[in-house]
């Protein structure tokens, strides 16, 4: 009898442990705030007192807000940018301001920790699965949306109904916010990519800075990957202070690296080096030749020349101490997007933005584009659309997310606010260059749809990890394996 009791107790304990194992593993941080109405209205007036100079005047008015129930619109933040601790108060302030101006809509913001794109994603999936989807999600980019393919509302009819003025917005940018032919949002925040340069490291190596104008030459030669390589080698330094061009350079003890593409997945990295392309043709996998060459270039840069950090280096104190790689102060040049201005930390004091190198003889800036999207399951799409338009019109939110406004008319105010908010020095970020780069996006975009996208992206990223981790690979063989696996994934869908 005692045996049986112990057996039952043991089984019960095991059952509960297994159940615990199967439970959702990651604690989720959610900041959820319902801002109650405040009987005030904040109006911003742009006053032009002196030609060419604008002053923004804030007027706070007491307003009468009608009592009674209001349509609640839930805004979900975290799938893209927006969940950093410095960003949260600004978004809450917007909600407060918006609700104060409303008598029909009550905006509720839910800010979920992004967690490397995982926590917010899992949380949103759980909400959708439970039939509790939010109304608005954003800012969110192409990749974030692709993970919820089929969940987004086609806003084209709402745009038409609202008779929105999209004058001046490039049609290509409007199309950029189409997923599989569905207009999931309006062009909002554009993130061209460029190179962040650690000026102190350039000065130390007595190297002239790369150009800050698109298409400009560097030291009389094209500003291309060959020029990047030459600079990167000189900026890569071992523990004895020798750079990668000097005899006796110790590849196993590198302390400073010349070049990196930060926070880029495999498609982003291959596009940066090999040019835009898609890893398929029809239903079959086909890696562009440019990408195959890029894989060789990257692998050599990591393991032969040593100027591009491998995985161990990325996880070391040398590149994590500032919070991320470039911010550590041990990377000379880092190619990434405008959104990175959020996270430069405090170690690198003297950075400047320069043009991306030409790839295959062409100017190209890998582009990210964030927008707000409405979920197909929204019970109040019209109210959500109305709130969404207000978000997109708010200049503080635009600055907060670092994205260049899609509407050219909004850009001067954005640049001014960016300069002030980030205390940018003259010439540190050449905004003209950023605007110019919008003309050279990577088409097809490196975040665009592909068959069986999540699994295919996952396989590509496994290849990236392999390249960064293992020395001595036969890259052609690995590329053939990758292509075969991708083919299987495409056909399995």
């Amino acid at each position: 009898m005692k045996n049986k009791l112990i057996n039952i107790a043991g089984l019960a304990a095991v059952t509960s442990m297994v159940l615990a194992a199967c439970a959702q593993p990651t604690p989720i941080t959610i900041t959820k705030e319902v801002i109650k109405e405040v009987p005030k209205e904040v109006i911003k007036e742009v006053i032009k007192e002196v030609p060419g100079k604008e002053t923004i005047k804030e007027v706070v008015k007491e307003v009468q807000v009608a009592a009674g129930p209001r349509t609640q619109v839930r805004w979900y933040v975290g799938l893209g940018t927006g969940s950093d601790k410095d960003q949260i108060p600004v978004q809450k302030k917007f909600v407060e301001k918006y609700n104060a101006s409303q008598d029909k809509i009550e905006l509720v913001v839910e800010i979920v920790t992004n967690g490397n794109g995982v926590i917010a994603r899992d949380n949103l999936k759980a909400q959708i699965a439970a039939g509790n989807a939010p109304d608005i999600v954003g800012p969110v980019g192409k990749y974030g949306r692709a993970q919820f393919k089929g969940s987004w509302l086609d806003v084209a009819p709402l745009i038409k109904e609202a008779n929105l003025d999209l004058n001046g917005v490039d049609q290509a940018l409007i199309d950029f916010v189409k997923d599989d032919g569905v207009q999931v949002g309006l062009p909002y925040a554009l993130f061209p990519s460029f190179i962040f340069v650690n000026k102190d490291l350039f000065d130390e190596a007595k190297l002239p800075l790369p150009p800050q104008k698109v298409g400009e030459k560097y030291q009389g030669k094209d500003w291309d990957l060959a020029a990047v390589t030459q600079l990167a080698l000189k900026l890569t330094v071992d523990k004895n202070g020798k750079d990668a061009t000097q005899p006796g350079f110790d590849k196993k003890n590198i302390k400073q690296w010349g070049f990196d593409q930060q926070w880029g997945n495999m498609r982003s990295e291959l596009t940066g080096i090999g040019g835009p392309g898609l890893p398929f043709e029809g239903d079959a996998a086909k890696l562009p030749q440019g990408w195959k060459d890029a894989a060789h270039w990257l692998y050599d840069a990591i393991w032969k020349q040593g100027f591009y950090p491998n995985k161990a280096a990325r996880g070391s104190e040398l590149l994590t101490n500032g919070g991320n790689e470039f911010a550590s102060g041990n990377i000379g040049m880092s190619w990434t997007h405008t959104w990175y201005m959020c996270c430069l930390g405090t170690v690198v004091k003297n950075w400047v933005a320069v043009a991306p190198p030409m790839v295959n003889g062409k100017v190209m800036s890998k582009m990210h584009g964030d927008t707000f999207a409405i979920m197909k399951d929204s019970k109040q799409p019209k109210a959500a659309f109305q709130a969404m338009i207000a978000m997109m019109a708010d200049p503080e939110l635009q600055v907060l997310y670092n994205g260049l406004p899609a509407r050219p008319a909004d850009r001067p105010a954005f640049f001014k606010l960016q300069n002030e908010t980030r205390k940018l020095k003259d010439g540190q970020v050449p905004w003209d260059m950023m605007v110019e780069l919008l003309k050279y996006p990577d088409i097809p975009n490196h975040e665009s749809w592909m068959p069986n996208m999540i699994k295919a992206e996952d396989r590509l990223n496994a290849f990236q990890d392999l390249m960064r981790t293992k020395e001595g690979l036969n890259i052609d063989e690995e590329l053939a394996k990758l292509e075969k696996d991708l083919d299987g994934l495409y056909k399995a869908k």
Binding site: M1, K2, N3, I6, N7, G10, L11, V14, T15, S16, M17, V18, L19, A20, A21, C22, P25, N116, V118, R121, D122, K125, A126, I128, A129, G131, F148, K149, G150, S151, I254, K311, A312, A313, G315, S316, E317, L318, I454, K455, D458, N461, A462, D465, L466, T469, K470
Partner: protein
């Protein structure tokens, strides 16, 4: 006329007959109700729902398109090479980490229980402290300690003139890194062993000494058999620990089982199917297979204890 009181049957027979008894029972149930609520709604119901899910093609993003697909998910597991890969990864880790954790905890317990050791309490606290640190935090610390470029471990190995391995980057080595991390938090096992030592009658050691038994003989013939109940408990929970292994694997393998699927534990693969690939039905089937395996192994372990576990009292 005499009143006939019918004897109560079934569940009614267990109810108290007096008013006071029934009031007490009612209050008992009221106080138990939060736990009962949790058991039914947070455990049993989700479990039942997940069993239903396992027979469907449920995708949480497109839940409206859910279809009943019978045993397809279970059959698919037989053809999925990553199921075997993940099972092997979990098994390999379990077979290495569980015995080593038990042995290391036992050795640590013997050490801090040694008569001649001074400052026993300090040592016990020091051995126990790592167990207080969450596994994820410990994992993060270990990624730095074991980093081949700047970690202390390889720096120490380097002093011997040997190049240290790429602990968390080499698929052949990473399992040892994970085992070392698992060995770091042996405090609870050590405390259990120390408690078990206290229950071994001292007269047995005295009698053994009189018979000329040396300390090794005493350990293997007296201590070990008499603490076998605790070792059984540690094996059982070690097995559960290996089945539950997730957070550290997730952290060190970038959530993808890197490098080269060497950290694709069964639980991690289950999570990826559910939350990354939106294959909730398949993941539910995986969870039920895991549950079945856990039950079978637990039953086998319980059955095996008759042959090697010593209980001072009659257990039948």
């Amino acid at each position: 006329m005499a009143t006939i009181i019918k004897p109560r049957k079934g569940i009614l027979a267990q109810l108290p007959e007096t008013h006071l008894g029934r009031v007490e029972a009612m209050w008992g149930l009221i106080f138990l109700s939060p736990w009962l609520f949790g058991l039914v709604f947070l455990y049993l119901m989700p479990m039942l729902v997940s069993l239903v899910f396992s027979f469907t093609n449920l995708d949480p993003i497109n839940a409206a398109d859910v279809k009943f697909i019978g045993f397809s998910n279970y059959l698919r597991m037989l053809q999925d090479p990553d199921i075997l890969t993940s099972a092997v990864v979990s098994l390999k880790f379990g077979l290495l980490a569980v015995p080593l954790r038990i042995i290391t905890a036992l050795l640590a317990a013997l050490l801090v229980n040694a008569k001649r050791l001074s400052g026993k309490t300090i040592f016990r606290v020091l051995f126990y402290l790592p167990a207080m640190i969450p596994a994820v935090a410990a994992g993060l610390v270990f990624t730095r300690l074991f980093n081949p470029a700047t970690g202390w471990i390889n720096a120490l190995i380097g002093l011997l003139g040997i190049e240290g391995p790429n602990w968390f980057g080499d698929p052949k080595v990473i399992v040892w890194g994970l085992v070392l991390l698992a060995l770091w938090a042996i405090g609870p096992g050590m405390i259990q062993d120390i408690a078990a030592f206290q229950n071994v009658p001292t007269e047995l050691y005295e009698a053994a000494k009189v018979d000329g038994a040396n300390p090794f003989y005493q350990f293997f013939r007296i201590t070990l058999p008499l603490i076998s109940g605790v070792i059984f408990f540690q094996i059982l929970f070690g097995f559960i620990f290996a089945l539950q292994y997730f957070e550290v694997a997730y952290l060190l393998g970038d959530g993808r089982g890197n490098p080269d699927k060497a950290t694709l534990f069964y639980n991690l693969y289950l999570y990826r199917n559910a939350w990354v690939f939106n294959d909730m039905g398949y993941a539910a089937a995986m969870a039920w297979v895991l549950f079945a395996v856990a039950i079978v192994v637990t039953v086998l372990l319980f059955r095996s204890q008759k042959r090697w576990v010593y209980y001072a009292t009659d257990r039948d």
